[in-house]
């Protein structure tokens, strides 16, 4: 910190004046429930907004100056969030700025960072991570996509799934197996590639809510230059662990992404206001059962921030290890699920018999997608493993594949299945 650095208060005041003039007001379509056409429009708008913020000198608040950021502090970032709380923000960039950017910053070479971080901050490059596979998501290190080295090139074959917005993104980090003859964690590498490359096919997956926000990718002899290796060959698990740490950090509102609210994710919406409107619209505002449920929703909405603050304080003080971010992840997954269940109870048949875009009907649609928070980004069961084993130090689950060469694990599995 230099003596010339602007104070967070002055920074926030300047941001407030600029944002009031230049950013549109908050509101508009909601992540999971917009249709595909609308989604592409939101993405295009986000790129423009991000460029606008970058040109005005407010982008990448905590990113280093040499890579296009401002090199400021978390306090400046919080001042920005407060100053822009009522503005429409390019939240499409949340994952890029909060997860992939920080991972590249932590593990990438100077050249890689120089080449991509400025483009990430000025709205040109959207990044996404390719981790889960059709054969499994929770057991990430057991992935099957392989990359064979051929001189200065990796040849990638396999498939990835559940990548958010891959069809409109530009680059992806992809975790691949580069050595099958060592135990699973030790034979992985992290590569990155332009998504629109030869040998890469991206297929959007249509969800129950009607939209296609996640994709599956197929790799058929896709060529990735060795210069796109992040870290060293077969050191991919360390980088993936770093990436997952940044992901959990973002859920806690503590990442390098400037735009997320401290509550993260869906907390930005006026959930309670919507529930109250729903109860009135269907005539249940005086129904004691509905009121109990709405009271419960208020409790769940209100406890998020005190819980996040407490977990963050313990992380900062070193009283909890980094996996404690699983507490926040589990909380938001369970709470958001329950709130959608509550809205369904309050709405009843009226919610199911209304149009999906209707303020009553939207709740039956959300119910269909209610499981997202307990599955995406690590299922609630994985979070519970993390909390019990890594936060409380209870005995770990048995992992029979841990010290066995991965090729042997696959052979054993085939044998067991044939039996």
């Amino acid at each position: 910190m230099t003596s010339e650095q602007e104070s967070p208060e002055a920074f926030g005041a300047r941001a407030r004046v600029w944002a009031a003039k230049n950013l549109p007001p908050a509101g508009g379509p909601e992540g999971l429930y917009v249709d595909d056409e609308e989604e592409l429009r939101v993405v295009a708008e986000a790129r423009e907004l991000q460029k606008l913020i970058f040109d005005a000198g407010f982008a990448g608040i905590r990113y280093p100056v040499e890579y296009g950021g401002l090199g400021l502090t978390r306090e400046h970032q919080l001042a920005w969030r407060e100053a822009t709380a009522t503005c429409r923000l390019p939240s499409t960039f949340n994952v890029t700025h909060g997860i992939l950017g920080p991972t590249l910053l932590e593990f990438g070479t100077h050249e890689q960072k120089q080449r991509h971080l400025p483009a990430i901050l000025d709205g040109r490059e959207l990044w996404v991570q390719f981790l889960s596979e059709p054969s499994g998501g929770s057991d990430l290190a057991g992935l099957l996509t392989r990359a064979e080295r051929d001189g200065d090139t990796f040849v990638v074959n396999g498939s990835k799934i559940w990548s958010t917005g891959a069809h409109f993104s530009d680059y992806a980090m992809v975790l691949v197996r580069t050595n099958p003859d060592v135990p699973k964690h030790r034979g992985l590498s992290m590569l990155y590639l332009p998504i629109r490359s030869a040998g890469v096919t991206v297929t959007p997956i249509k969800l129950v809510t009607g939209g296609s926000h996640f994709c599956q990718e197929f790799f058929d002899d896709a060529m990735v230059p060795a210069a796109n290796l992040i870290g060293t060959e077969n050191d991919g698990w360390r980088i993936a662990s770093g990436l997952l740490f940044h992901e959990r950090n973002m859920v806690g509102g503590n990442s390098l992404n400037d735009h997320v609210s401290p509550g993260g994710g869906e907390g930005e919406a006026d959930t309670i206001g919507e529930l109250v409107a729903l109860a009135r619209a269907v005539g249940r505002d005086k129904d004691p059962n509905a009121r109990q449920l709405i009271g419960e929703a208020i409790v769940l909405e209100t406890l998020a921030n005190p819980t996040i603050s407490r977990v963050n304080a313990q992380l900062r003080a070193g009283r909890m290890p980094p996996p404690a971010a699983s507490l926040v992840r589990l909380m938001s997954g369970l709470s958001q699920y329950r709130i959608k269940e509550i809205a369904l109870e309050v709405g009843g048949t009226r919610a199911m018999m209304a149009d999906a875009g209707d303020p009553v009907g939207i709740h039956a649609q959300r119910w269909l997608g209610a499981r997202i928070g307990t599955i995406a980004g690590g299922s609630s069961e994985m979070q519970r493993n993390g909390i019990s084993e890594r936060v409380l130090g209870l005995p770990r689950e048995a992992t029979p594949d841990k010290d066995v060469p991965f090729s042997q694990v696959l052979a054993n599995r085939r044998q067991a299945q044939e039996r």
Partner: protein, 375 residues
């Protein structure tokens, strides 16, 4: 409490913990209850008061502790008392002391506060009425004017420490709105009927007021204009109750964790079964949420934040339900031993159960939340 306590607060925490371990260990709480003795041993509360526990919210000129952060200090004491299921009317005594300090007359402050601070006089708060009406603003005990006096009639239920209190702060309804009065125990027409002991370490009694006459100087605050005082009392009570409950919850959770780590079945510790680990992870989560809420509420109360009423009801609704869910499941993890009189679990379960309903059940507070947001 907070991760970031000051050195003084750490010292206070340590001092209170040692005092309670020595003066009121769980074994003593259990023995006194079994022997049918009252929860407060002779001299116990005045020795506790020497540590300042009864003086936190009393201004320094009336014998108060003179702390920079009186509310947070008091919350630390409440947590420690919860941890050890300690006897002593900290909550109602603090509400009465705070009410006098905030709205009492000079004469009332001089007469009562120094005695309350040093523990020579116990005061309690006669607020609840059957059936479980706890919001002070909803009291139905009546107070009517008769010349210069007030005449009180009604039934106050589940008044903590009614057996030992020398003075009652009685919330009542007048023709011109709510009022509250200091009523000495020996006032003609005031009778106390003590109730069976459920929460070991605390006794409650029903207080009947039949044409109890008090002078105008017994009114605390101006009759008909005490809404703010009543709101503050309720928030303070819920703040201290939350602190006490998270204190006991954290303690019994730790004890249970030690047990599942050391208890072996089929050659492996109980703590290694995923069916149990996942439940324990959920308990850890909702306990952290409880601790986060309790701290947020204490800070909001200390700062006089506008959202304090809502936060108080959120905190009560969450902790009231979750504390019982967690402690009851700790009982499942302990198995048969947790059902015995000699095991500590029931002491924690009893207090958490009482706290769930005292000052409003979670269901009542969920309803209150709807009213607070205008539904």
């Amino acid at each position: 409490m907070d991760i970031e306590l000051s050195d003084e607060q750490r010292f206070l925490q340590e001092t209170v913990r040692k005092f309670l371990e020595h003066e009121a260990p769980l074994s003593a709480v259990r023995q006194r209850a079994a022997a049918g003795e009252p929860p407060l041993a002779p001299g116990y509360w005045s020795r506790a008061a020497e540590l300042g526990v009864a003086a936190m919210l009393v201004p320094e000129e009336y014998g108060g502790a003179g702390s920079d952060e009186p509310v947070l200090d008091l919350v630390i004491v409440a947590e420690e008392m919860g941890r050890q299921i300690a006897p002593g009317p900290l909550l109602p005594g603090s509400v009465v002391a705070d009410t006098l300090a905030q709205t009492g007359t000079q004469q009332q402050k001089e007469e009562y506060l120094p005695q309350l601070a040093e523990g020579s006089l116990l005061a309690t708060w006669a607020v609840g009425e059957a059936p479980d009406s706890w919001d002070p603003a909803e009291a139905n005990t009546s107070a009517g004017r008769d010349g210069d006096d007030w005449v009180l009639s009604g039934e106050k239920s589940s008044v903590e420490a009614a057996d030992v209190a020398g003075v009652f702060l009685v919330t009542a309804r007048t023709d011109g709105g709510m009022a509250q009065f200091l009523v000495p125990r020996d006032s003609p027409g005031l009778t106390v009927r003590m109730l069976p002991q459920y929460d070991l370490g605390r006794l409650f009694g029903d207080v009947t007021l039949r044409d109890v006459r008090v002078s105008a100087s017994a009114a605390v605050g101006e009759p008909g204009a005490i809404e703010k005082s009543l709101a503050r009392q309720y928030q303070l009570a819920l703040t201290l109750q939350a602190a006490e409950t998270v204190g006991l919850l954290e303690r019994i959770f730790d004890v249970t964790l030690d047990y599942v780590r050391s208890r072996y079945t089929f050659g492996r510790p109980l703590a290694s079964y995923q069916a149990l680990k996942h439940r324990i992870a959920d308990h850890k989560l909702w306990m952290e949420a409880s601790l986060g809420l309790s701290t947020a509420l204490a800070r909001a109360f200390a700062a006089g934040d506008d959202n304090c009423a809502q936060l108080a009801s959120v905190t009560k609704a969450h902790i009231g339900d979750q504390s019982l869910t967690i402690i009851s499941d700790c009982g499942q993890l302990f198995g048969g031993i947790g059902m015995t009189w000699e095991h500590d679990l029931h002491l924690y379960l009893r207090r958490a159960t009482a706290n769930k309903f005292l000052y409003g059940s979670p269901a009542q507070h969920r309803e209150r939340l709807c009213r607070l947001i205008g539904l």
